[in-house]
């Protein structure tokens, strides 16, 4: 393994963990927005309770992704930041508003009306960020980002197109699905749990439909990724495993095996992301730039790998403890 391949792998791991953690936190905002029925207030309360202690830690994976990109793959960072200027800026506005509004609501200690207003801001910005994040991924996968041109950048054309937006919606549905599945394990109350079980089943079906639709679109819109996803040696086993995982996740939800459903849903999300990454590798920005071409010199990559290894030694037990404290088997108060 070359250092740049290892670091590309590290990028994928960080993205997957961002999706599994922060993605579900955004998904919580979706369910806050869609809370309804007799238990609407309890649904919102459960979302806030579930993401409160962990959303800031979950969020750091994104910062790690950005830092790894500009340290290790500087030649790719500049075209990414220029070509995706608008969706990234919107993503940032979503991130800022979501986090601030959540803190204002949780710690505001103010009137009900202002609490409701910040709750609404929290929920709406939780919609914007995943769509923009997914649109960025879709733009890259479709090979719509120019590399090394002297032309002035086009602000909207690369990402305001069917395929990137489809990936944006898929991301939103996936995050909402993850959140609903996780939330079934956050409450002891049967009615509330059923609410989220139904939401998980519905959003799970939506994820499947959007994933298949995106694959269909990819044929003409993202030929490089589509070719790998249909033509490579690993394609068939990959699709079989992913499909089996999706069916098993929905089946576990149906039979109210919530712990198993959570593990399968997380695996499914990781598989979807890994499928994209595998199909696109070795391209960082298809069709013009590979990871190897974009990589910084070896003497830069090696200290970063060391820092990652050392950091992981510190981080993994800390994160494990965080999740054990707040998401462990102990029933919640």
């Amino acid at each position: 393994m070359t250092p740049e391949a290892l670091l590309a792998g590290a990028l994928l791991v960080a993205l997957v963990l961002y999706g599994l953690g922060a993605g579900a936190d955004f998904g919580g905002g979706v369910w806050d927005l869609l809370a309804r029925g007799p238990r609407a207030a309890a649904q919102r309360e459960l979302v806030a309770h579930a993401i409160g202690p962990i959303w800031e830690a979950n969020h750091v994976w994104l910062i790690l992704v950005v830092v790894l990109l500009f340290v290790c793959f500087p030649a790719g960072f500049a075209p990414l930041m220029t070509g995706l200027f608008v969706p990234l800026t919107l993503l940032l506005f979503g991130i800022v508003l979501r986090g601030s509004a959540f803190a204002f609501r949780a710690y505001g200690d103010v009137s009900d009306r202002s609490q409701a207003r910040w709750g609404r801001v929290f929920a709406v910005s939780s919609l914007v960020s995943p769509v923009m994040l997914g649109a960025c991924v879709g733009t890259i996968a479709a090979g719509r980002l120019p590399v090394g041109t002297a032309l002035p950048p086009r602000l909207f054309e690369p990402w305001l197109a069917p395929f990137p937006l489809a990936i944006g919606l898929l991301t939103l549905a996936l995050f909402a699905f993850l959140a609903a599945v996780y939330l079934t394990l956050e409450t002891e109350q049967a009615g509330l749990r059923e609410d989220f079980r139904r939401r998980a089943l519905a959003s799970g079906v939506l994820v499947g439909a959007l994933a298949l639709g995106s694959l269909g679109l990819a044929r003409s819109e993202a030929p490089l990724v589509y070719g790998a996803l249909t033509g490579s040696a690993w394609a068939l086993p990959f699709h079989l495993v992913t499909a089996a995982c999706a069916v098993a996740a929905l089946g576990a939800l149906h039979r109210r095996r919530f712990a198993r459903a959570r593990a399968l849903a997380a695996l499914l999300a990781a598989l979807l992301l890994a499928g994209w990454a595998l199909a696109q590798y070795p391209w960082l920005l298809p069709p013009g730039l590979t990871f190897a071409e974009a990589a910084a010199p070896r003497q830069v990559l090696e200290p970063v790998l060391l820092a990652l290894a050392g950091g992981a030694l510190l981080l993994v037990p800390s994160l494990a403890w965080l999740f054990r404290v707040f998401k462990g088997a102990r029933p919640r108060g």
């Binding site: 409160g52 202690p53 800031e56 830690a57 969020h59 750091v60 910062i63 790690l64 950005v66 830092v67 790894l68 500009f70 340290v71 290790c72 500087p74 960072f77 500049a78 075209p79 990414l80 930041m81 220029t82 200027f85 800026t89 940032l92 506005f93 991130i95 800022v96 508003l97 979501r98 986090g99 601030s100 803190a103 204002f104 949780a106 710690y107 505001g108 200690d109 103010v110 950048p153 602000l155 910084a296 010199p297 003497q299 830069v300 200290p303 970063v304 820092a307 990652l308 050392g310 950091g311 510190l314 981080l315 800390s318 994160l319 403890w321 965080l322 404290v325 707040f326 102990r330 108060g333």
Partner: protein, 440 residues
């Protein structure tokens, strides 16, 4: 040109906003860890109540700090893609390390804020200590990266490309230690004085409140100690600037002519056209003494450098004067507090002194903003001193005025809401110890 100005303004706005919350994320955990330690040692419920009260405010400040910090990490690339493509591999190591430090801080802050009933009291306190340490460390790493822009090291230029990159040497660049120390002390001083001011204002109305007395004593001790050490670290840093960024030093001091035994100018207004600084109180030989520890040393003036390499002299000089003035007043207030406390063997609670503390509340934050203005504007026209000009680094994306306006509005709104929420919390502070409070 308009886009370059918009990009610089947006970057300054994002930095200036984030820094206010970042210092709270560095210093508040230290205050909370000390307060909780006092509770664990003495069993006095006031200390617990204080820890929890401070934790509520910190939760808001930390959240806004985390998201506005994310904005910065993206803005580096969104606004200065050519700078990041060049510099990312060289000065990226401290950013990677900062990522882990910040990660640690966020994890243990989650446990600290939400884990009161889920972990044992001493583990809870230890989490607070980890938050305080990792918060300080993440600040140190980020400032180290900024220091590299002032004194770039760890690479060689060959045909405009960086070769022989040594990320560790880049991280340990000449300004790194001085800047990191100066910033860390500034964080403790600014936050300590601001918190002390809040509690002093409550004590003026309710002099018997044990809660506010304890809070004031702790915040003043931390803020005062930092404010007394800050001038020493400033001296260290200024001597570094004199050696490595003589243009910046000349702009800070309004020194147009090269001079032996240069005077220190207090105040004054540089006239760039006439090339002199008027209306300043001049202390003969003092600048040479401070910058080189020799009253007869030669200080190089702006005249030695091409006009195109000058930073905006007026801004840099005035910002430097504001920073030094605020820092001096805070150091004096700390000294007076220490004197009073020593003479009366008690919390300095004279009404005049409490009023003075209230007045000093914002000074640390003013000094922070002014100090960053000196660092950043004083480096112009360079984004990497002597290597890359800011105008070469800016993004080709047009229409930057729009994100600038939108960000200004957003940050104005957030700043207003945060202030209002903190104000309500302080007003709602309990005055009777022993009254139990909810977990959050």
């Amino acid at each position: 040109m308009a886009d370059l100005l918009a990009a610089r303004t947006l970057m300054a706005l994002a930095l200036g906003f984030h820094i206010l919350f970042a210092v709270a994320g560095i210093a508040m955990p230290l205050l909370m860890a000390i307060a909780e330690w006092r509770w664990l040692r003495t069993g006095q419920p006031t200390w617990l109540l204080l820890t929890k009260r401070w934790a509520r405010g910190t939760a808001i400040l930390f959240a806004v700090g985390a998201v506005s910090g994310t904005v910065l990490s993206f803005l580096l690339g969104l606004l200065w893609p050519r700078f990041m493509a060049f510099a990312g591999p060289i000065f990226g190591l401290p950013f990677a390390l900062e990522g882990f430090a910040f990660f640690t801080e966020a994890i243990f802050l989650g446990i600290f804020l939400y884990g009161w009933e889920r972990v044992s009291p001493w583990l809870h306190w230890a989490s607070g200590v980890v938050v305080a340490l990792s918060g300080a460390l993440s600040g140190v790493f980020v400032v180290t990266a900024n220091a590299w822009m002032n004194t770039p090291a760890g690479f060689r230029l060959a045909d405009g490309r960086a070769v022989d990159i040594d990320p560790v040497a880049a991280m340990l660049n000449p300004s790194a230690f001085g800047q990191a120390l100066h910033m860390a002390l500034a964080a403790y001083a600014a936050v300590g004085f601001a918190v002390a001011a809040l509690h002093a204002s409550r004590l003026l109305r309710d002099p018997a409140s044990d809660f506010h007395r304890k809070a004031l004593a702790l915040a003043l001790a931390v803020g005062g100690a930092a404010a007394l050490l800050e001038p020493l670290s400033g001296d260290l840093l200024a001597r570094q600037v004199a050696l490595t960024q003589p243009v910046k030093l000349a702009a800070m001091e309004g020194q147009f002519r090269t001079e032996r035994g240069a005077p220190l100018r207090l105040g004054g207004l540089p006239d760039v056209e006439a090339r002199e600084t008027r209306h300043a109180l001049e202390i003969p030989g003092a600048l040479s003494l401070l910058a080189f520890h020799d009253p007869q040393a030669t200080v190089r003036g702006l005249e030695e450098f091409p006009r195109s390499d000058w930073p905006p002299v007026v801004v840099v000089h005035l910002a430097f004067q504001v920073m030094v003035a605020c820092g001096s007043v805070m150091a004096l207030a700390a000294l007076a507090g220490a004197g009073l406390a020593w003479r009366h063997r008690a919390l300095p609670d004279r009404r005049w002194y409490l009023r003075a503390l209230v007045a000093c509340g914002p000074l640390g934050f003013v000094a922070l903003e002014a100090g960053w203005t000196v660092t950043e504007v004083g480096r112009q026209p360079w984004i990497i001193q002597g290597v890359m000009r800011t105008s070469e680094a800016v993004t080709p994306v047009p229409g930057l005025l729009l994100p600038l306006l939108a960000t200004s509005l957003l940050y104005l709104l957030l700043g207003f809401v945060v202030l209002e929420l903190l104000r309500r919390q302080v007003l709602a502070s309990p005055v009777e110890p022993g009254r139990s409070e909810g977990a959050r």
